[in-house]
């Protein structure tokens, strides 16, 4: 069923029910209105009867003129009501009797009034009493009639009310039924199909393109579903065509993109090639060596500017000439043979030095490298040759050889001289110590035998002399040690430095204890293995630490820190102290032999310690220097070659130490 038909039926049924019920209710209400009007009429009649009763009673007592007048007026108004009842009222059957009673009442009251107005006689009171009795009886009868009318009206009102109730119930029940039927129809024809439609549309919208409603009834919603199916079909077809079209477009776009990429790539390659060609041309022209090409006939086909310069001929003269024509005639045949062998692939390349002729007839040396040029198929196109002018180098090499020979001779002479000098120094030192020992011995003998003949100054002079001999001996010993460093040392070999340092500290233990110094060997030192002479390295360390202890500040206890770090295939060691420091102007001087910054009264020593240190370090191929701030302290640096690979800080080695 169509929804509009359902709605029309519902409207028609509702209208019919409303019309019928409304008619019934209207009719009943009209009846009730009439009944109400009649009831009011009956009430007014009852009031009138009551008033007549009261006035009659009052008149019975007082016979006053006012009561008489009121009785007559009220009787007349009651008569008017009886003669003009409301239209359609109930109790119309009583009206004739009421009218009769009313008329009779008037007659009776008139007779009572007349009796009162007449002169009194003996029977008038009895007559009046009888008349009044009749009057009251009639009033009672009228009252009963009025009550009957009133009751009939009330019955009519009750009946009308009952009809209204029945009509109302019928209206309510019918309305409920119509509503239920309409609601059921709406549920079946509207709500459920709409939900079905909503679910279907949602599924279609979620991508279920094949979803169709099929036949969904003859209602408007069924028509909507059918229209939706058609629309979905059309949409599906459109989407398939569109998808294929889009796919083709995509493919074309892809091909176009690939083509464009290929074109761009080709353009790039061409550009690169051109750039490469230009680069090569520039290199070819700007090359410091002569570059030339020779065809299979041995004729120069290309020659760069440098070749023209090198051979002293313009390129156009070179191009077209035979290559071997430019080779020195002593090597020309060998050069031709080698060129032919290269062209014939008997040899792969040439790399040799030979002499050439310049255009102006001057010969020069050239370093020739030559190679075959092949096509893609392996055919020999010719040769490419590169000639470097090595005339200057050849001359230098010849001069150097002469110099080397000269130096070798000098070296031999120097070694002999050094050996002699060392021998001299050793002998001199050794021989010098003998007279010194004699002087000391005889000075001791003089003191022992003739000491009591000497006065105080004499003893002092003896002490000075003996002390001088002693220092002389020490100087000779130091000189001896200094001289031995280069020639009497042990071989240089890999050695860990930590044990050597510990040994040096053992030797210095008395000085360390005396000065209450704090000497610290950084753990970085434990990893250091150097190429060295253990005895000399120990002496090096002992001298440096000993200096640090000796030149300590009186204001603070000495503190010495020994550390190291790897640096360029070597180990750099630091001996840092908090001593008196050194003025920067003395940094170079202190490493000189017998150089002292202080008097012997201030600090003992011969002034050869740092010179020995320098000589030891230099023997090991290292370097020694100092950084210092006066009254703050000094740091002595020296380097020794590392034994084997030296790891950097990133390999777990300590970080570089800050400068002292």
């Amino acid at each position: 069923m169509r929804i509009s038909v359902l709605l029309w039926i519902a409207i028609a049924v509702s209208s019919s029910v409303t019309a019928v019920t409304g008619t019934v209710v209207y009719t009943t209400l009209e009846q009730e209105k009439h009944a109400g009007r009649n009831d009011e009429y009956a009430d007014r009649l009852a009031d009138g009867v009551y008033h007549l009763t009261a006035l009659t009673n009052e008149y019975t007592v007082h016979h006053s003129r006012r009561v008489e007048r009121q009785w007559l007026v009220r009787h007349a108004s009651v008569g008017t009501m009886i003669s003009s009842p409301p239209v359609g009222g109930f109790g119309s059957a009583q009206l004739p009797q009421m009218a009769e009673h009313h008329a009779k009442l008037g007659e009776l009251f008139q007779r009572v009034v007349e009796l009162n107005q007449a002169p009194p006689n003996s029977g008038s009171e009895v007559q009046e009493a009888a008349l009044l009795e009749q009057l009251r009886l009639r009033i009672g009868a009228l009252a009963e009639q009025v009550a009957a009318v009133s009751n009939a009206n009330r019955d009519g009102i009750r009946e009308a009310e009952r009809q209204i109730r029945v009509a109302s119930w019928i209206f309510v029940l019918t309305s409920v039924l119509v509503l239920l039927a309409t609601f059921s129809g709406v549920v079946v024809l509207v709500i459920r199909p709409l939900e079905y439609l909503r679910i279907g549309i949602r599924r279609f919208g979620q991508g279920e393109r094949d979803y169709r409603f099929g036949f969904a009834g003859h209602s408007e919603i069924g028509a909507v579903a059918t229209a939706f199916d058609r629309m979905a079909d059309t949409l599906y077809d459109s989407m398939v065509s569109r998808r294929e079209l889009l796919k083709e477009i995509d493919e074309r776009k892809l091909v176009e993109g690939q083509l464009a990429d290929a074109v761009r790539e080709a353009e790039l390659i061409n550009a690169n090639l051109r750039a490469r060609e230009e680069e090569l041309r520039l290199i070819y022209d700007a090359s410091s060596v002569a570059i030339f090409f020779v065809n299979t006939d041995g004729i120069i086909t290309h020659a760069n500017r440098r070749m023209a310069t090198m051979f002293g001929s313009p390129p156009e003269q070179l191009i077209g000439s035979e290559y071997v024509a430019h080779v020195h005639e002593t090597e020309r045949s060998e050069g031709r043979a080698r060129m032919l062998a290269l062209l014939a692939s008997d040899i792969q390349s040439v790399d040799l030095e030979r002499r050439y002729w310049r255009g102006d007839g001057v010969e020069f040396w050239g370093h020739l490298t030559g190679q075959r040029m092949l096509t893609e198929t392996g055919q020999t196109l010719g040769l490419v040759g590169v000639i470097e002018d090595i005339t200057a180098r050849r001359s230098a090499e010849q001069g150097l050889a002469a110099k080397t020979l000269e130096l070798e001779k000098l070296n031999r002479d120097l070694s002999a001289s050094n050996a002699e000098l060392e021998q001299f120094a050793y002998v001199a030192s050794h021989d010098l110590r003998e007279p010194l020992r004699m002087i000391s011995s005889y000075l001791s003998l003089i003191e022992r035998r003739y000491g009591h003949h000497l006065d105080h100054d004499g003893h002092i002079f003896l002490d000075f002399a003996r002390d001088g001999a002693k220092r002389m001996d020490q100087l000779v010993l130091d000189l001896l040690a200094f001289a031995r460093i280069d020639n009497r040392g042990d071989p240089i070999a890999p050695m860990p430095i930590f044990p050597v340092l510990q040994l040096a500290l053992i030797h210095l233990k008395a000085a360390i204890d005396d000065s209450q110094a704090e000497v610290t060997i950084d753990e970085t030192v434990q990893a250091a293995v150097v190429m060295g002479d253990p005895v000399q390295v120990m002496r090096l360390c002992q001298n440096l630490i000993g200096n640090a202890l000796k030149y300590s500040s009186p204001e603070r206890p000495p503190s010495v820190l020994i550390s190291c770090r790897p640096i360029d295939g070597a180990w750099e060691f630091r001996v840092a102290d908090n001593g008196i420091g050194i003025d920067a102007s003395h940094f170079d001087r202190i490493f000189g032999i017998f150089q002292r910054l202080h008097t012997r009264d201030q600090y003992e020593g011969t002034g050869i310690g740092l010179a020995i240190c320098k000589k030891v370090v230099e023997r090991h191929g290292g370097r020694i220097w100092v950084e210092s701030v006066q009254d703050k302290g000094s740091t002595f640096f020296f380097t020794l070659p590392a034994a084997g690979e030296v790891g950097g800080p990133e390999q777990g080695m300590p970080a570089p130490l800050p400068a002292a």
């Binding site: 006035l55 009052e58 007082h62 006053s64 006012r66 007048r69 009121q70 007026v73 009220r74 108004s77």
Partner: protein, 337 residues
């Protein structure tokens, strides 16, 4: 906070025009009404029973109904009706007893509305030491009252209801204000007196006197009375006055305290006195059938007591004019017709 929008000059001018027009609409009819408003001189008896008339005057209800009511304050209903007969007033407020007495003298006036009734206005007071407890104990006693007044009528009705005749008691007549002293001086044993003289006597003597409970043998009414020719010639003014009274009774019902204050101030009586009397009043604009019966009874008593000259009962239907009240409030008229 809402910000009041400033009116533009154009809007402001438009508003002024509307206000002026409204003022003209409101003012013009009033001015014309004031010009045409009929003058009604009202002789008002200065008793709380005149409360509806006083409230209507004070609240402007008569003016609102289109009449220019001007009160003439007079003590005693017999004087208000006298002023009316003398042409000093157009309408008088008075009890029905005054109407009854005057009905024997002239018949050119009528009651056109009762606006208050009171079953307890007249009291029977007795000295406590007189041993008078019920009305039956009045036999053989000296009783004071005001001759020819409602109190006198009330006393006669009490005696009748107790089966006594005037000869069974000794009645002495005084002015209202003398009765308290008469009781105090033992000149009488009991008095029959209307308010507020009963309350004044009770205040004066305190516990020495008691109010004797009775059977409410008399319903006093206070009425609007006018000459017939005035009623016939001023029906609109009469109706306006009735409407004003109806409004006043509605105000009294809703604002009793304010009404009492207005009345107290108007009659120059203590507020507490007015307030104590107030509950005995029934404020209602009517014309009841029993008013005619009451007038008949009072007239017959007056003739029997020779308080009036004449021996024929007046027809009091001629002394009641119910047409105006019937027009504006038909149910208020219960006179048989």
């Amino acid at each position: 906070m809402a910000r009041r929008r400033a009116a533009s000059p154009r809007e402001s001018g438009w508003h002024w025009c509307v206000l002026l027009l409204l003022a003209l609409i409101v003012m013009l009819p009033r001015q014309s009404l004031a010009a045409e408003r009929p003058l009604v001189r009202l002789a008002v008896s200065l008793t709380p029973l005149s409360a509806p008339v006083i409230v209507a005057l004070e609240k402007g209800y008569f003016e609102r109904q289109g009449i220019d009511a001007r009160p003439i304050k007079i003590i005693g209903g017999h004087r208000t009706i006298a002023a009316m007969f003398a042409g000093e007033a157009d309408i008088a407020t008075s009890s029905e007893a005054v109407v009854m007495f005057n009905s024997f003298k002239r018949d050119d006036f009528a009651i056109f509305a009762t606006f208050v009734s009171n079953e307890d206005d007249v009291q029977l007071l007795a000295r406590r030491d007189s041993a008078i407890v019920t009305p039956r104990d009045l036999k053989g006693r000296r009783i004071g009252t005001i001759r020819g007044s409602a109190a006198h009528f009330f006393l006669s009705q009490i005696l009748v209801l107790q089966g006594l005749t005037p000869s069974d008691v000794s009645i002495a007549y005084f002015q209202p204000e003398e009765l308290a002293d008469a009781l105090a001086s033992h000149a009488v044993d009991a008095v029959s007196v209307w308010q507020p003289f009963g309350l004044i006597a009770q205040r004066k003597m305190g516990d020495a006197i008691v109010a004797i409970p009775h059977e409410r043998a008399y319903i006093e009414t206070f009425n609007l009375i006018a000459r017939r020719d005035f009623i016939a010639g001023n029906s609109k003014a009469i109706e306006a006055m009735l409407r004003g009274l109806i409004l006043a009774n509605e105000f009294i019902a809703s604002h009793p305290q304010e009404s009492q204050e207005l009345v107290s101030k108007f009659i120059n009586q203590e507020f507490s006195l007015v307030r104590s009397l107030w509950p005995t009043f029934t404020f209602e604009v009517t014309l009841k059938q029993w008013l005619l019966a009451t007038l008949d009874s009072e007239a017959r008593w007056a003739m029997a007591e020779h308080l009036v000259e004449g021996n024929s009962l007046p027809d009091y239907l001629d002394f009641v004019s119910y047409a105006a009240l019937e027009r504006i409030q038909p149910r208020a008229v219960t006179i048989y017709r």
